[in-house]
Protein backbone atom coordinates (compact mmCIF):
# COMPACT_ATOMS: atom_id res chain seq x y z
CA UNK A 1 0.00 0.00 0.00
CA UNK A 2 1.82 3.04 -1.21
CA UNK A 3 0.79 6.65 -0.72
CA UNK A 4 -0.87 6.82 -4.15
CA UNK A 5 -3.19 3.87 -3.48
CA UNK A 6 -4.26 5.10 -0.04
CA UNK A 7 -4.74 8.61 -1.43
CA UNK A 8 -6.87 7.37 -4.30
CA UNK A 9 -9.12 5.40 -1.94
CA UNK A 10 -9.39 8.46 0.32
CA UNK A 11 -10.41 10.63 -2.66
CA UNK A 12 -13.18 8.16 -3.54
CA UNK A 13 -14.44 7.97 0.05
CA UNK A 14 -14.44 11.76 0.42
CA UNK A 15 -16.32 12.14 -2.88
CA UNK A 16 -18.98 9.66 -1.74
CA UNK A 17 -19.36 11.36 1.66
CA UNK A 18 -19.66 14.82 0.10
CA UNK A 19 -22.18 13.82 -2.54
CA UNK A 20 -24.20 11.83 0.00
CA UNK A 21 -24.47 14.76 2.40
CA UNK A 22 -25.36 17.12 -0.45
CA UNK A 23 -28.11 14.73 -1.53
CA UNK A 24 -29.44 14.27 2.02
CA UNK A 25 -29.50 18.02 2.69
CA UNK A 26 -31.35 18.75 -0.52
CA UNK A 27 -33.87 15.97 0.14
CA UNK A 28 -34.49 17.67 3.48
CA UNK A 29 -34.93 20.99 1.71
CA UNK A 30 -37.53 19.40 -0.52
CA UNK A 31 -39.40 17.27 2.04
CA UNK A 32 -39.71 19.38 5.20
CA UNK A 33 -42.98 21.21 5.63
CA UNK A 34 -42.13 24.44 7.46
CA UNK A 35 -39.91 27.32 6.44
CA UNK A 36 -37.77 27.25 9.58
CA UNK A 37 -37.25 23.48 9.44
CA UNK A 38 -36.36 23.80 5.78
CA UNK A 39 -33.71 26.30 6.82
CA UNK A 40 -31.99 23.64 8.90
CA UNK A 41 -31.49 20.98 6.21
CA UNK A 42 -29.20 22.63 3.59
CA UNK A 43 -26.57 23.56 6.18
CA UNK A 44 -25.29 20.00 5.71
CA UNK A 45 -24.69 20.77 2.05
CA UNK A 46 -22.68 23.87 2.89
CA UNK A 47 -20.47 22.36 5.57
CA UNK A 48 -19.87 18.62 5.27
CA UNK A 49 -20.85 18.24 1.61
CA UNK A 50 -18.65 20.93 0.13
CA UNK A 51 -16.01 20.37 2.83
CA UNK A 52 -15.59 16.72 1.86
CA UNK A 53 -15.50 17.57 -1.86
CA UNK A 54 -12.79 20.19 -1.29
CA UNK A 55 -10.87 17.70 0.89
CA UNK A 56 -11.07 15.20 -1.98
CA UNK A 57 -9.75 17.86 -4.34
CA UNK A 58 -6.81 18.58 -2.04
CA UNK A 59 -5.91 14.90 -1.60
CA UNK A 60 -6.22 14.39 -5.37
CA UNK A 61 -3.81 17.23 -6.08
CA UNK A 62 -1.28 15.61 -3.72
CA UNK A 63 -1.75 12.19 -5.35
CA UNK A 64 -1.43 13.45 -8.93
CA UNK A 65 1.60 15.64 -8.49
CA UNK A 66 2.17 19.06 -7.03
CA UNK A 67 -0.05 19.49 -4.00
CA UNK A 68 -1.99 22.60 -3.18
CA UNK A 69 -3.84 23.83 -0.14
CA UNK A 70 -5.79 26.59 -1.92
CA UNK A 71 -9.10 24.88 -1.25
CA UNK A 72 -8.77 25.68 2.45
CA UNK A 73 -9.51 29.31 1.50
CA UNK A 74 -12.84 28.38 -0.10
CA UNK A 75 -13.69 26.16 2.87
CA UNK A 76 -12.96 28.95 5.35
CA UNK A 77 -14.98 31.44 3.32
CA UNK A 78 -17.98 29.13 3.11
CA UNK A 79 -17.84 28.27 6.82
CA UNK A 80 -17.65 31.96 7.77
CA UNK A 81 -20.44 33.18 5.50
CA UNK A 82 -22.95 30.34 6.00
CA UNK A 83 -24.29 31.55 9.41
CA UNK A 84 -24.66 35.13 8.13
CA UNK A 85 -26.84 34.17 5.17
CA UNK A 86 -28.80 31.72 7.37
CA UNK A 87 -29.45 34.55 9.84
CA UNK A 88 -30.72 36.78 7.03
CA UNK A 89 -33.02 34.07 5.66
CA UNK A 90 -34.40 33.41 9.16
CA UNK A 91 -35.09 37.13 9.53
CA UNK A 92 -36.95 37.11 6.21
CA UNK A 93 -39.00 34.13 7.44
CA UNK A 94 -39.89 35.92 10.69
CA UNK A 95 -40.80 39.21 9.05
CA UNK A 96 -42.80 37.59 6.25
CA UNK A 97 -44.59 35.48 8.90
CA UNK A 98 -44.01 32.32 6.90
CA UNK A 99 -43.19 30.43 10.11
CA UNK A 100 -45.04 30.05 13.38
CA UNK A 101 -45.01 33.06 15.64
CA UNK A 102 -41.70 33.08 17.53
CA UNK A 103 -41.98 32.11 21.22
CA UNK A 104 -42.03 34.90 23.84
CA UNK A 105 -38.53 36.10 24.70
CA UNK A 106 -37.31 35.39 28.26
CA UNK A 107 -36.47 38.93 29.40
CA UNK A 108 -37.68 41.61 26.97
CA UNK A 109 -41.18 42.13 25.64
CA UNK A 110 -40.33 41.47 21.99
CA UNK A 111 -37.59 39.97 19.82
CA UNK A 112 -35.02 42.50 18.71
CA UNK A 113 -35.53 41.91 15.00
CA UNK A 114 -39.22 42.76 15.39
CA UNK A 115 -38.52 45.77 17.60
CA UNK A 116 -39.28 49.14 16.01
CA UNK A 117 -37.80 52.26 17.66
CA UNK A 118 -40.25 54.56 19.46
CA UNK A 119 -39.85 57.37 16.93
CA UNK A 120 -40.60 55.14 13.95
CA UNK A 121 -43.72 53.42 15.29
CA UNK A 122 -46.17 55.25 13.02
CA UNK A 123 -43.89 54.82 10.01
CA UNK A 124 -43.64 51.05 10.46
CA UNK A 125 -45.58 49.19 7.80
CA UNK A 126 -47.69 46.26 8.87
CA UNK A 127 -46.18 43.07 7.42
CA UNK A 128 -48.40 41.61 4.76
CA UNK A 129 -49.32 37.97 5.38
CA UNK A 130 -48.23 35.53 2.73
CA UNK A 131 -51.07 34.03 0.67
Amino acid sequence: MSFEIIGTYLVGICLLIGAGFALVGTIGLLKFNDSMTRLHAPTKVGTIGIGALLLASMIHSYVVGEGSLHELLIMAFLFVTAPISANFIAKVNIHKQSCDTPPPPPRDDTWSTLNVPEADRELAVEPTPQP
Binding site: G12, A19, R38, G49, I74, L78
Partner: protein
Protein backbone atom coordinates in the same frame (compact mmCIF):
# COMPACT_ATOMS: atom_id res chain seq x y z
CA UNK B 1 -3.33 0.78 -8.13
CA UNK B 2 -5.81 -0.48 -10.72
CA UNK B 3 -8.49 -1.36 -8.17
CA UNK B 4 -8.03 1.99 -6.43
CA UNK B 5 -8.41 3.89 -9.70
CA UNK B 6 -11.53 1.92 -10.56
CA UNK B 7 -13.00 2.70 -7.14
CA UNK B 8 -12.25 6.39 -7.60
CA UNK B 9 -13.86 6.40 -11.05
CA UNK B 10 -17.06 4.79 -9.73
CA UNK B 11 -17.14 7.15 -6.73
CA UNK B 12 -16.57 10.05 -9.10
CA UNK B 13 -19.54 9.13 -11.30
CA UNK B 14 -21.76 8.57 -8.24
CA UNK B 15 -20.71 11.95 -6.83
CA UNK B 16 -21.55 13.68 -10.11
CA UNK B 17 -24.98 12.01 -10.21
CA UNK B 18 -25.61 12.93 -6.56
CA UNK B 19 -24.70 16.59 -6.94
CA UNK B 20 -26.75 16.91 -10.12
CA UNK B 21 -29.75 15.31 -8.38
CA UNK B 22 -29.29 17.76 -5.48
CA UNK B 23 -29.19 20.65 -7.95
CA UNK B 24 -32.41 19.47 -9.64
CA UNK B 25 -34.21 19.02 -6.29
CA UNK B 26 -33.25 22.47 -5.05
CA UNK B 27 -34.50 23.82 -8.39
CA UNK B 28 -37.86 22.15 -7.70
CA UNK B 29 -37.95 23.88 -4.29
CA UNK B 30 -37.11 27.14 -6.07
CA UNK B 31 -40.14 26.73 -8.32
CA UNK B 32 -42.71 25.50 -5.79
CA UNK B 33 -41.41 27.30 -2.70
CA UNK B 34 -44.43 28.97 -1.11
CA UNK B 35 -42.67 31.93 0.52
CA UNK B 36 -39.84 34.27 -0.39
CA UNK B 37 -37.52 32.83 2.27
CA UNK B 38 -37.78 29.38 0.72
CA UNK B 39 -36.80 30.77 -2.67
CA UNK B 40 -33.78 32.58 -1.22
CA UNK B 41 -32.77 29.40 0.57
CA UNK B 42 -33.16 27.34 -2.61
CA UNK B 43 -31.00 29.81 -4.56
CA UNK B 44 -28.34 29.66 -1.83
CA UNK B 45 -28.36 25.86 -1.95
CA UNK B 46 -28.09 25.95 -5.74
CA UNK B 47 -25.01 28.17 -5.51
CA UNK B 48 -23.41 25.77 -3.02
CA UNK B 49 -24.18 22.83 -5.30
CA UNK B 50 -22.70 24.72 -8.25
CA UNK B 51 -19.49 25.12 -6.22
CA UNK B 52 -19.52 21.34 -5.76
CA UNK B 53 -19.95 20.80 -9.51
CA UNK B 54 -17.03 23.09 -10.34
CA UNK B 55 -14.83 21.30 -7.77
CA UNK B 56 -15.77 17.94 -9.31
CA UNK B 57 -14.90 19.30 -12.77
CA UNK B 58 -11.52 20.40 -11.45
CA UNK B 59 -10.85 16.92 -10.03
CA UNK B 60 -11.92 15.33 -13.33
CA UNK B 61 -9.54 17.38 -15.44
CA UNK B 62 -6.76 17.28 -12.85
CA UNK B 63 -6.04 21.01 -13.05
CA UNK B 64 -5.87 23.79 -10.49
CA UNK B 65 -7.36 26.53 -12.68
CA UNK B 66 -10.89 26.02 -11.34
CA UNK B 67 -9.87 27.24 -7.89
CA UNK B 68 -10.41 30.90 -8.80
CA UNK B 69 -13.74 30.13 -10.44
CA UNK B 70 -14.91 28.33 -7.29
CA UNK B 71 -13.85 31.23 -5.08
CA UNK B 72 -15.65 33.74 -7.27
CA UNK B 73 -18.82 31.63 -7.32
CA UNK B 74 -18.70 31.37 -3.51
CA UNK B 75 -18.30 35.14 -3.06
CA UNK B 76 -21.01 35.98 -5.59
CA UNK B 77 -23.38 33.49 -3.97
CA UNK B 78 -22.94 34.99 -0.52
CA UNK B 79 -23.32 38.57 -1.76
CA UNK B 80 -26.39 37.76 -3.84
CA UNK B 81 -28.07 35.91 -0.94
CA UNK B 82 -27.49 38.81 1.42
CA UNK B 83 -28.62 41.33 -1.20
CA UNK B 84 -31.83 39.41 -1.94
CA UNK B 85 -32.69 38.98 1.76
CA UNK B 86 -31.92 42.61 2.45
CA UNK B 87 -34.07 43.72 -0.46
CA UNK B 88 -36.97 41.68 0.88
CA UNK B 89 -36.43 42.98 4.42
CA UNK B 90 -35.83 46.68 3.76
CA UNK B 91 -37.15 47.32 0.25
CA UNK B 92 -33.70 48.59 -0.70
CA UNK B 93 -30.21 47.10 -0.84
CA UNK B 94 -27.98 50.12 -0.16
CA UNK B 95 -29.73 52.93 1.65
Amino acid sequence: MNAATDFMDIAFKLAFIGIVMAQIMSMIRLVIGPSVGDRILALDTMVVNAIGLVVLLGIAQGTQIYFEATLIVAMLGFVSTVAYARFVLRGDIIE
